[in-house]
Symmetry: C2
Subunit: 259 residues, 2 copies
């Protein structure tokens, strides 16, 4: 039976979107259920996706995301291109500190972690490369939110904001001045706002046009002392290095969407 | 006009496959031409892909691979899952040597680089994460070829093999004993077989079932001295660590498909 092209595209994309970090391998019936398509449709489309390499079959016959899709996706400039430019600087940060180093971009009202280098002895963090998180709590999230367009900020502040610890800023009246301070000082500090033992220092990464493209952070074990100027400086230096690698050459201060 | 579902799937995949490392951003007409579809079809399908996030538009209106596709692809176990397990060991290799560290898997008759950590002072290499290469010349390629199923080896040897330097093994009569030696000794050395100044030492990474899942290598500047035992040992140690992280627990020697 011929079907409408739009719905076929939607079904193909729904099949790909059925996979999650919790369920990276799926049986055919799980795949059909999660994608919201019939079993015969899932079977037919999955076979095409396997032929092309977007999906692979495991030895047990389950489906998983295929290497060919990963190869294509590795061309995504906003994730992989950024990551390639940033990696030497992230490695430097890691080698110098042996702490968690993170690189994130904003996607809509959330952030996506594009890279993470985790020291084995470093404080545990909740993040995963390719994983999403809210914008109002982590160091990278606060930087990305502080430099987001006004309508993004308003949309984030209009929704109820999850509280992770008793230090999480969940109230617009405390978040707004915090975001203004982050723009003014050029970095963000999230002190036990996500977990009770972690502190992150984050700084913005600028692209060629001088707008904020990403944020880089260092996550350390929280202490009652304020983070040292040296810690802030090493993160800002790495962020400036990545910005330069992305083609940013302006001598001006950071230009945010809201500035 | 209703279209057949199979051809729609093929067109959607052709649109994604139109992007390459040389052309990560495409105009609509470039996209249509590379995907082999009409301009109206490209326009209609690309719009659906943009809505879902598989593609994004740049400020200039060009298309590029989107962050949402990258997020989904980050779930590919054979690339990303492997990389996550391997990264701490690759970082150790890098910190100890400050040379190029590479991780690759076999895909058909080629290899795909899944990770690369490049020291800034290290010898230049030709590789790119997500990029492909032949199996018969690099250290990782020789390891993956040595442990590939017999029909894969025969298919590779049946084709003309590119010569990169005068040391590249391009003759089945010299490659076959080299592959046997790699299986027997547990590592491969590619001494100026790809570029005139680089030497790589590579070792196999085993999965839970004891089969070779990947290869890890260290690329150093070639010298007239043979690579030291210490260099070989550090690569093999990293490969064993990654194997253990993947669940390999057998005390037996490496089991290759051809063994």
């Amino acid at each position: 039976m011929p079907s409408d092209g739009s719905s076929v595209t939607a079904k193909v994309l729904a099949l790909l979107g059925a996979f999650t970090a919790d369920a990276p391998e799926l049986t055919l019936s799980e795949l059909a259920r999660r994608a919201g398509v019939s079993l015969p449709t899932a079977h037919r489309r999955a076979a095409e996706l396997v032929t092309w390499g977007a999906l692979e079959r495991t030895a047990e016959g389950r489906y998983r995301i295929g290497l060919r899709l990963w190869e294509i996706a590795a061309l995504a400039p906003r994730a992989h291109g950024l990551r390639e430019a940033a990696l030497p600087f992230l490695e430097d940060l890691y080698v110098v500190t042996r702490q968690n180093v993170q690189l994130a971009v904003r996607e809509g009202l959330e952030l996506v972690f594009v890279e993470r280098i985790a020291g084995r002895g470093a404080v545990p963090v909740l993040t995963r490369v390719g994983g999403r998180f809210t914008l109002h709590a982590t160091g990278v999230g606060l930087v990305l939110l502080a430099h987001a367009p006004a309508q993004v900020q308003e949309a984030v502040l209009a929704n109820p904001l999850p509280r992770y610890t008793d230090r999480t800023l969940t109230d617009p009246s405390s978040l707004r001045p915090a975001l203004a301070a982050i723009r003014a000082q050029g970095y963000a500090i999230s002190d036990r706002m996500v977990t009770p033992d972690a502190l992150s220092v984050a700084a913005p990464v600028l692209g060629r046009a001088g707008t904020v493209q990403a944020a880089v952070s260092l996550v350390v074990t929280a202490a009652d002392d304020a983070p040292t100027r040296a810690l802030i400086n090493v993160v800002r230096t790495a962020a400036r290095g990545i910005s330069r690698a992305l083609g940013y050459t302006h001598p001006n201060p950071v230009r945010s969407f809201t500035g």
